[in-house]
Amino acid sequence: MITITEQKPLEQILQYLEKCRRVYLIGCGTCATMLHTGGKSEVLGMKDKLEAAGKKVTGWMVIPTACDELTRVALGENAKDIEAADCILVMACAFGVQTVTLYANKPAYPALNTLFIGKEERPAYFTEICLQCGECVLGQYAGICPMTQCAKGLLNGPCGGSKNGKCEQEPEHDCAWILIYERLKKLGELDKMKEFVPPKDYSKMKRPRHTEVARL
């Protein structure tokens, strides 16, 4: 699973940086590089844009995986340039921004919006794979998730809104229920479609979410 991001409008980024004259830039070598939102070329592109807007970029780096512990080390190695900046602009997912926030003594601002956790369905086209509902339902639906694939997240079958097998909201998107139906039929499990699925336990999604695992 990769974290799908998009770049925020420059206007919004400049609003964050209104009081910062000197900026340090951080990109991420993993998901944001794949998405072309926070890899090396985007970081350099951002550097140009900020400089054109009258900012001074004190330095930049692309951390291999901005969300992991090594971010602390990377920040330490570049302490001088970071110290010279008024703030840090992070071109990584929300996890990357939070990791930088944790280890840096400067305000860290997001340059990206984190959209969803997804997969690359075809080149340059990403779709959501899981919304982490905390109660996996894939077993009921032949491995196709109605929580993410159905616009309404229904559990007992489709609404009346599909047209030519496509979703009413996303005309490019197959109706999840038709996919589920076809696959259950192929597997000889169509009876599953007829079972009443009781209301979902949304307390599994109550926030702040946390869990503790057994230590070995």
Binding site: K152, G160, G161, E168, Q169, F196
Partner: protein
């Protein structure tokens, strides 16, 4: 006249939809109530149809009830979580509202507040199950109610689903709705009588009354728009040509609808008229249909 006893008698039932407007002016609702009283068995009030923010279904049902009509409270899962759904149901019942139409609800993204957070805590099948639980005297958490309602729950089905899979899925879902407590159905608008006859043949064994949806055509543009955009609605070219050739489009639209009702009479248990702004023409339509 009210819905349940009339359905029980086997008489051909007529319900009409009333769509509340945006704002607090209820003059139209009052006028419509006067025109429909005695002419229809129930009036069905939409719940912020098409996800366009309007006066509520519950309050409008109450106004209609006060004016001697039997309201059907449309309740969608779009805007309310399970607490609000159950509470609104109890509120409706103490106001004398017994008929509830349980629906999932249109997507907020297609309405006039597309930034709204969609709820869909329950789906329509689960909502019907909850209504049945309330009727038994319990909320969905299993807590006992002090004073229980006696709702007459209904649901919707789309008889014109356009692919084999979509059609089969509608039938499967319809059976699930019946098992969860649905006692009557109303359908998406019907223009293709042959297709509807095939649908009725398939649901014959379900033994639950079906009210066919009727939307009077207002223009050629409207017919074409529905064919292109509205799932499950198919206006045959013959009807579109009739509208195109008509001098008095309103009259022709009403005549077509009346003719449809006449053809549907032997096929299903009633009709549900969705006039969409033409509520005041419903008596004229019923006259033309001989009802």
């Amino acid at each position: 006249m009210s819905l349940k006893p009339v359905l029980d008698t086997g008489k051909f039932v007529v319900t009409a939809e009333v769509g509340p407007l945006k704002g607090t002016d209820t003059t139209d609702i009052e006028e419509i109530a006067e025109l429909l009283r005695g002419r229809v068995d129930a009036t069905n009030v939409t719940d912020q149809q098409s996800s366009v923010m309007r006066l509520g279904s519950l309050a409008t049902c109450h106004l209609l009830k006060e004016r001697g009509l039997d309201p059907v409270f449309q309740l969608t899962c779009r805007d309310r979580n399970r607490l609000a759904l159950q509470s609104d149901l109890l509120s409706a019942y103490v106001l004398g509202i017994e008929n509830v139409l349980a629906i999932t609800g249109d997507l907020p993204s297609l309405g006039d507040h597309p930034q709204a957070k969609p709820v869909y805590d329950l789906d329509s099948v689960q909502l019907l199950w909850v209504i049945s639980r309330l009727n038994e005297g319990y909320d969905m958490a299993g807590n006992e109610l002090k004073g229980k309602p006696s709702f007459f729950p209904g649901a919707v089905v789309n008889p014109g689903a356009d692919t084999e899979a979509a059609f089969e899925l509608q039938l499967i879902k319809m059976e699930k709705k019946i098992a969860a407590g649905a006692r009557f159905f109303q359908t998406q608008a019907v223009y293709d009588v042959d297709a509807f006859a095939k649908f009725m043949k398939r649901v014959e064994g379900f033994r639950v009354p079906v009210l066919a949806g009727i939307i009077p055509l207002k223009s050629v543009g409207m017919a074409r728009f529905m064919n292109k955009k509205v799932a499950g609605v198919f206006v045959p070219e013959e009807l579109i040509s009739k509208m195109a050739a008509a001098e008095d489009k309103a009259r022709t639209g009403i005549e077509i609808a009346a003719n449809l009702i006449k053809q549907l009479r032997g096929m299903c248990h009633g009709v549900h008229i969705m006039a969409i702004g033409w509520e005041k023409k419903v008596p004229e339509l019923l006259d033309a249909a001989g009802l």
